[in-house]
């Protein structure tokens, strides 16, 4: 790792990874300032910046153009500015992701020392050796805990004295997460309240906002719409808790919380849920109501709780995964699928040889 300290990024490196501090320093040295926005010679930079954002929206990944590294470097902060002025949360996430995917593809082709240098710049404590790398466990779980494939689970890793063994490819995957976070942090910083977009950016902004609203009209936004209670569509874990509850048996606290928050999330009212819970042996209406209202976001922190995810339920030993849970990370998703299935079965539509259970 010590060897990498002396490495100086080239112009090409900065064009590939324009989020590096050196890229900003490079532009400063070149004397690029916000005054340049109004100059004609700056138009190609604005065009490339606009293209970065458009590519993010349309393709989900930003392309690489190394014909003129300076253009590539300078267009990055301008693109950031465009996204900030557009002021759209979806676009912020989409753009950060698209830039991180660009970086990820480029990193795949880099020599180990460059990967190691970039990694340590992003705060990773890492040792890259050929196709393998050793990453400090804290840095590993900070990012790998977001992935759901079992191979990323720490329990399925070689962990020795704080170091996690992983492949170079896997390290790059984690780096792109960190890059994405970095960009999101940059994009989250608010503009000055009186900041106005430079004249030359205005037309581009109008175009970007238009693209976003077209997209919304086409796909619609996921609102987590309430779908109501359909017992046959309940995922196995929730079904088991519901049955236990109906039989008036004891449910551990975490199961109660899971069930209550799940029911509230699918659109049941506080009254409905309280009625259900009152059958528990040690239930007390006043306390039950208080707790359910709390989960519903009517008390305390006023945040409405989302019911726990599959991985949380697994940790607590409440997961009862079956074959239809494949690819599902949240009981609510499984429930929505179940609803569609129940509707199909009710309509007499036979589903690929499966027998209906409705």
């Amino acid at each position: 790792m010590a060897l990498n300290k002396g490495y100086k990024f080239t112009e090409r490196d900065l064009a590939k990874y324009p989020f590096l501090r050196e890229a900003a320093e490079y532009l400063e040295e070149m004397g690029v300032t916000t005054k340049d926005f109004d100059a004609d010679y700056f138009q190609p930079v604005i065009d490339r910046a606009y293209l970065r954002v458009v590519e993010a929206i349309e393709r989900g990944i930003v392309s690489l153009n190394l014909d003129d590294p300076r253009l590539e470097i300078a267009s990055f902060p301008v693109a950031i500015l465009l996204v900030k002025f557009a002021g759209d949360e979806f676009l912020k996430r989409r753009y950060a992701l698209a830039e991180s995917l660009r970086a990820r593809e480029l990193l795949e082709g880099e020599p180990s020392f460059l990967i190691a240098t970039l990694a340590s710049r992003l705060g990773f404590r890492v040792d890259v050796k050929g196709v393998y790398a050793k990453l400090y466990v804290i840095d590993y779980i900070r990012y790998a805990s977001r992935f759901h494939d079992p191979r990323w689970k720490l329990v399925n890793r070689i962990l020795d004295e704080g170091w996690v063994l992983l492949s170079r490819r896997e390290l790059i995957r984690l780096l792109s997460e960190a890059i994405q976070d970095n960009l999101l942090n940059i994009l989250a910083k608010p503009l000055l309240s009186d900041a106005k977009p430079p004249r030359r950016l205005e037309a581009k902004l109008v175009a970007i906002i238009g693209m976003l609203s077209d997209r919304r009209a086409k796909y619609g936004e996921w609102t987590g719409a309430e779908v109501g209670f359909v017992e046959d569509a309940l995922p196995p874990c929730i079904k088991a808790m519901y049955t236990t509850l109906k039989e008036g048996k004891h449910l551990p606290h975490i199961a109660r919380f899971t069930l209550a928050s799940f029911l509230l999330n699918i659109g049941l009212t506080v009254d409905d849920v309280v009625k259900m819970f009152i059958s528990i042996p040690d239930a007390n209406e006043r306390i039950t109501r208080y707790q359910v209202e709390h989960i519903a976001g009517m008390r305390g922190s006023m945040t409405k709780y989302t019911s726990p995810s599959c991985s949380t339920l697994k940790t607590h030993g409440l997961c009862l995964e079956d074959e239809r849970c494949r690819g599902v990370k949240h009981p609510l998703i499984r429930y929505r699928r179940g609803i569609r299935r129940v509707i199909r079965i009710k309509e007499g539509d036979t589903v690929g040889g499966e027998r209906g259970e409705a």
Partner: protein, 413 residues
């Protein structure tokens, strides 16, 4: 019991309160450990008469001790989390990080002794039984059952063994340095291990990875068949797996292998060439074992030994980044024992005897007259007491306090 029963309860509570008060006004200072950056912590207390108060904060240890002296809580808690505004409501506190905490409690460890000392009581008909409470009272069919847990040396030894396992893994696998670790006796049936430093910044998802690693949740046995990974050497987890497999394969009978679902051919292969397989186990050649007994059978073996490998922490505590945890040096309201500091090292834990060292009134020669409803035999310091059943006894203060806190005895004036 009627009116006199109510009076006994009141007298008992008054007595316990007076002893706790004596602790907090005269003794506590040398045991209370203020959490680091005390002003950024939330505090919560269970008060004898007023129930739970929380969202409090103190700037110094002196302020905290003064509060304890004035309010005499039955239980004291501080937030593992650091907050910008510890007294604000939960969403306005401003989370800055939280110690990583492991709770090892006999509740989560299967021990044989619980059948002997844990009891349940039917609140409807008064019927009692041993072990874990059933769903319904076998006598009256009532479902209002109260679980009364006890602890014994067996429980504490099991918890200690589990905590040793945890400390070993934290050090050898996670590389966690001793100077960031604090081990405490919980004051009841287990141990709390607090880890500070860089781990304080981890979110719930990252903590879940640590908990799952310790509990072996989501372990995919085929990782041990990956030559590339395995050829990188024998690390802590693999070494533990090797030991556990060796112990299981060498000590299990034909019936034992069948019981975990091994097919006839797999069982025959193991029994006929046990030595050769054990040799491969010792060398960590998992693909070699798989060739001998089949991958499916190896998976079943690994799934079985994971039961011994898992460290039985309570994941709820480890995952909770806003938890209120018992304050070191305070008394446990259900025992009158101190949540006492053990040390930082495995050695310190190995030599630790909570039943001697977490007893603030151990050397008091005060004798207390009690009516004991039911108590198994137990030890405080070097001395054994009980078993008692429906009898009047004179006991030294510490064991008397235990029975009163446990609710199995009344003060008798």
């Amino acid at each position: 019991m009627g009116e006199s029963g109510e009076k006994l309860k009141q007298d008992t509570k008054r007595f316990v309160k007076s002893i706790f008060s004596r602790y907090y006004s005269k003794i506590a200072r040398k045991f209370i450990e203020e959490p680091t950056r005390i002003a950024s912590r939330e505090f919560g207390f269970n008060l004898f008469d007023k129930g739970i108060v929380r969202h409090l904060s103190f700037r110094t240890k002196d302020e905290l001790i003064e509060y304890l002296r004035r309010n005499n809580p039955s239980d004291c808690y501080y937030s593992s989390a650091l907050y910008i505004n510890p007294t604000a409501s939960m969403d306005a506190k401003g989370w800055m990080g939280a110690e990583l905490i492991f709770d090892i409690d006999a509740d989560h460890i299967p021990t044989n002794c619980k059948v002997e000392h844990d009891r349940w009581l039917c609140l409807s008909c008064g019927c009692e039984g041993v072990g874990e409470a059933p769903d319904k009272c076998p006598n009256c069919g009532g479902d209002k059952l109260e679980q009364r847990v006890w602890f014994c040396e067996g429980c504490l030894i099991a918890a200690k063994r589990e905590a040793m396992k945890l400390l070993d893994i934290l050090s050898s696998d996670f590389g966690i340095r001793e100077d960031t670790v604090n081990i405490y006796f919980s004051g009841h049936r287990g141990f709390h291990i607090h880890v500070s430093g860089e781990v304080e910044g981890l979110d719930q998802n990252a903590r879940r990875e640590i908990a799952d690693y310790l509990l072996c949740v989501g372990l995919d046995p085929t990782i041990y068949l990956d030559r590339m990974i395995i050829s990188k050497g024998v690390n802590g987890a693999k070494l533990r797996m090797i030991r556990a497999l060796y112990d299981f394969i060498s000590s299990t009978s034909i019936e034992g292998f069948s019981a975990i679902g091994l097919g006839r051919r797999g069982v025959e292969a193991i029994v006929n060439s046990r030595d050769r397989i054990l040799e491969k186990v010792l060398e960590g050649e998992f693909d070699g074992i798989a060739r001998e007994i089949g991958v499916a059978n190896l998976r079943k073996l690994i799934a079985k030994v994971v039961e011994y490998l898992a460290v039985r922490i309570d994941p709820v505590v480890t995952l909770d980044t806003h938890r209120l945890i018992r304050l070191p040096g305070s008394l446990h309201g259900k025992t009158g024992f101190i949540k006492a500091r053990v040390g930082s090292s495995m050695e310190s834990l190995e030599d630790y005897d909570p039943l001697s060292e977490a007893m603030p009134f151990r050397n008091s020669d005060e004798q207390v007259k009690l009516y004991v409803h039911l108590s198994p035999r137990f030890r405080v310091g070097e001395e054994y007491f009980g078993p008692f059943k429906d009898e009047y006894v004179y006991l030294p203060l510490q064991p008397a306090l235990l029975l009163l806190c446990k609710g199995v005895a009344y003060i008798s004036s």
